[in-house]
C-alpha cells in the first residue's frame, strides 16, 4: 500500500512540475513537450487507480495526438510566445 501512495505522490508532484513549466514556458515547442510529460505523469496515476481503459485512450490521445496537433499548429504560427 505504501508503494501505491509513493507512486501517487511521485506522479502527482511530477505532473504539477510539468504543468507549471508548460504554463510559464515561452518556447511553444518546449511547452508542448512539458505538456506531454504532464500527460505521462497522469497516465501513471490512471494505472495506479486501476483505470486501464481510461489509460489506453488517454495515453494515445494526450501524449501522441495532442502533442502532434500542438506541434503542427506551432509550425503554422511562431515558435516563441511574445
Amino acid at each position: 500500500m505504501i508503494l501505491v501512495y509513493l507512486t501517487l505522490l511521485f506522479a502527482g508532484l511530477l505532473s504539477t512540475l510539468f504543468t507549471y513549466l508548460a504554463v510559464t514556458e515561452k518556447d511553444l515547442l518546449k511547452a508542448a513537450a512539458y505538456s506531454a510529460g504532464q500527460s505521462i505523469a497522469y497516465s501513471i496515476l490512471f494505472q495506479v487507480f486501476a483505470a486501464t481503459d481510461i489509460l489506453l485512450a488517454y495515453i494515445a490521445i494526450s501524449v501522441g495526438v495532442y502533442s502532434g496537433l500542438l506541434i503542427f499548429i506551432v509550425s503554422k504560427t511562431e515558435r516563441f510566445e511574445v
Partner: protein, 251 residues
C-alpha cells in the same frame, strides 16, 4: 528565472496545503464496499441473466448497457472532425513530389515503431471485449502511426500510397454506417435498437466475440483512426497550398 522558481515553490505549497486538507477530511481512504450499481455490472456482464457475454465490464457498459451514450459520444466526435475538415475546405491534394524526410536512422526506427503501433492498436481494438481497451482506444493508437510517418517521411509517402484525405473520410463514413447498421439490424427482427446477445451470436467457431461488441469495436477502430489521420494530413499540407485552394474557391 528567480521569479519562475518562486512561482514553482508557491504552486507546490498550494498543492501540499490541498493534500493536507484532503488527508485531514479523510477523503483519501478508498471505500471498502463496491456500490450496488458496480456490483450489478461486475456480476451481470458475463455470468448473470442480463449478460452482455463480455468479461470486460467497461466495453459491455460502453456498447451495450449504456450504448446510447456512446452513440452521442461518437456523434460529437464525428461532428468535431467534420467541423475540422470544413475549416480547411480542401477538395484536392497537393501535386506529388518527392518528399525529403528525415535521416536514415529515424526512417528505419519509424518503420519498426509504426509496424508495432499497428499491431498493438489492432490488439487493443479487437480484444476490446476481452481485455481493457476497445475501438476508440485502438483507433487513437493507430492514428499515431500516420502522425509519425508524416514528419519523418513527409506526407507524400502517404499520398503516394493512395492514402488520401478523401479515401480516409470515405472510410470513416463507411465505418460509422457500419456502426449504425449493427445497431439497427435487430429492429428488422422485431427486437429493440442496439440489441446485443438476443440477435448476435456470442461465440463464433468456439471463439468468444460477445455479440455486437466486436463489430462495434472494429468499426469504431477504423472510424477513429481514419478521422484523426485525415485531420493530420490536412494539417500537414503547406500553407501555400491552402492559400492556393482558397484563392481558387473565391474565383
Amino acid at each position: 528565472m528567480g521569479r519562475r522558481l518562486l512561482g514553482l515553490v508557491f504552486v507546490y505549497s498550494l498543492a501540499l496545503a490541498l493534500a493536507l486538507v484532503v488527508y485531514a477530511t479523510g477523503s483519501l481512504q478508498p471505500p471498502h464496499e463496491i456500490k450496488r450499481l458496480g456490483v450489478f455490472y461486475v456480476e451481470e456482464t458475463f455470468f448473470g441473466n442480463m449478460t452482455a457475454m463480455s468479461p470486460e465490464a467497461v466495453t459491455a457498459i460502453v456498447w451495450d448497457y449504456r450504448g446510447l451514450d456512446t452513440v452521442y459520444e461518437t456523434a460529437v466526435f464525428f461532428l468535431a472532425v467534420v467541423a475540422g475538415l470544413a475549416v480547411f475546405r480542401v477538395s484536392k491534394t497537393p501535386p506529388l513530389k518527392r518528399g525529403v524526410g528525415l535521416t536514415e536512422i529515424s526512417r528505419t526506427s519509424t518503420k519498426i515503431v509504426a509496424a508495432l503501433i499497428v499491431v498493438v492498436s489492432a490488439s487493443i481494438a479487437l480484444h476490446g471485449h476481452l481485455t481493457p481497451g476497445g475501438g476508440f482506444q485502438g483507433g487513437s493508437t493507430l492514428a499515431i502511426a500516420p502522425l509519425l510517418v508524416i514528419p519523418i517521411f513527409s506526407y507524400y509517402a502517404l499520398l503516394a500510397r493512395r492514402l488520401t484525405p478523401g479515401l480516409l473520410v470515405t472510410l470513416r463514413g463507411l465505418a460509422l454506417t457500419a456502426i449504425g447498421l449493427v445497431a439497427l439490424l435487430p429492429v428488422f427482427k422485431g427486437l429493440e435498437v442496439v440489441t446485443n446477445i438476443r440477435f448476435y451470436p456470442a461465440y463464433i467457431l468456439g471463439q468468444l466475440v460477445s455479440g455486437s461488441l466486436l463489430l462495434y469495436n472494429s468499426s469504431e477502430y477504423i472510424a477513429v483512426a481514419s478521422g484523426f489521420a485525415a485531420v493530420f494530413l490536412y494539417l500537414s499540407f503547406e500553407e501555400e497550398f491552402h492559400e492556393e485552394e482558397r484563392g481558387e474557391d473565391h474565383e
